[in-house]
């Protein structure tokens, strides 16, 4: 015989003042390190058009920021550019989407990396969509993929690209949604990154958004 038990996950005691202070200090220290690393990327050398984004805005399109509530949208520019623009705190130019909100979350399957990347790139052509509550299931799958197998070890180039893409998406969501558990996945990777880092847009956008996510959770 079984019985259902209701458990309110918000019913546990709030962190004490001492804990809050310890956490804030730790995140602040980490943020200084990440900010320093982000500064070393020359955004304009990666994407020179980044500063010209203002010219694109206002031509019957919508510009939004990461913090805004959004409905499903598609980006006018490619995913790397939009992630980078978010990292640099530029407004992001989007058009209303009509795509796969109802198609269920994208999945990341083992031994299907290339297909997985293509599916994710297609679904998150506007990466801001990762912030939506409907994408929580996919977000959890990102965390699982990144953390279950130790993805920190050197991997095949294609998998490396997927990893940075997922880290960028996770960091983007972490700056919009306060979630210390997800943020700590980024902390975990930060501590294990092998230097020197590749100068790619995904890497750069990861640092920019991770930096903002730390600030959000302070």
């Amino acid at each position: 015989m079984t019985r259902r038990v209701e458990l309110d996950i918000d019913a546990f005691p709030a962190p004490s003042g001492n804990l809050t202070n310890l956490l804030r200090e730790a995140l602040k220290a980490r943020r200084n390190e990440v900010e320093e690393q982000f500064k070393q990327f020359h955004l304009n050398s990666l994407r020179p058009e980044l500063d010209e984004i203002a010219l694109v805005i206002g031509k019957q399109r919508t510009a939004i920021s990461v913090a805004q509530e959004i409905s499903w949208c598609e980006s006018v520019l490619d995913i790397e550019f939009v992630l980078l623009a978010a990292a640099a705190d530029k407004p992001i130019v989007v058009i209303p989407g009509h795509s796969s909100v109802d198609a269920g979350p994208a999945t990341i399957r083992k031994n299907e990396t290339l297909l997985g990347i293509n599916r994710i790139l297609q679904r998150y052509s506007c990466p801001l969509n990762i912030i939506q509550p409907s994408e929580r299931k996919f977000f959890e799958e990102c965390l699982r993929y990144l953390m279950v197998v130790d993805r920190v070890q050197p991997v095949e180039p294609i998998e490396e690209r997927l990893r940075w893409l997922l880290l960028s998406l996770v960091s983007l969501r972490c700056r919009a949604v306060r979630d210390i558990r997800a943020l700590d996945v980024l902390n975990y990777f930060w501590e294990r990154l092998s230097r020197p880092l590749p100068a790619s847009t995904f890497v750069c956008s990861f640092f920019g958004n991770y930096d903002a996510a730390l600030e959000r959770n302070l």
């Binding site: 038990v5 546990f12 001492n18 279950v148 210390i180 558990r181 996945v185 930060w190």
Partner: protein, 227 residues
Amino acid sequence: MKVGVITNAIARGVRIASEIEKNPGVEAWVLVFDPRGCSFPVRLVREIYYLASRRVLFKSFRRLLRGRILYFRKSISHPSSLERIRNQEFAVGVHDLNVIYRRPIIDAFGRGILNSHIGILPRYRGRCVAEWSMLEGSPTGITVFFIDEGIDTGRHIVLKEEVPVPRHTSIGGLKSFLFDRDAEMYRKALTAILGGKELLINETDQGQRYYPMSQLLLNVVEKLAQS
């Protein structure tokens, strides 16, 4: 009730078996899996010092003489191991092996395999849950449940207890404190099962899966534990 303690260390298995046999009506066998395949005598000699230091040497020999230690050279998922387990007709398995069990293994034990998880389910699934509980200001504790093939998603919880951690300890001390209570928790769980206690449902959507914690937050928890 015939119970199989699934382990890769004789001393740990004997410690758990001795504890759960304090339940009248429980008979325990220790199932030792050593996929590296060294012979039993070699394994036994290697463990003698460990057994003696844990004061279970006499208990181990006595259990061995009674045929209550079964040694497996193949992994638990190997067909020969599975066949041997099925032939024993265990009612319940007790987990003490660092593996994820597949369905045929779980089904080889009549009612399933019990796991003692050092976190409160359904809220805290996965890794480092004791640390996460502390960090989130939640009670630390232990849950004994019947496992499935997922990570702490087994549907039936036998019992859960909040276990306050001792003050001024380290993370290592905290985890040892909780892990070392596994035998006692298994004994209580088997008592509950024998007594016909109704099982709780592990509502996984009411919790989250946790992952290894970063050093950054481990340092925070360490300071918190020692304060």
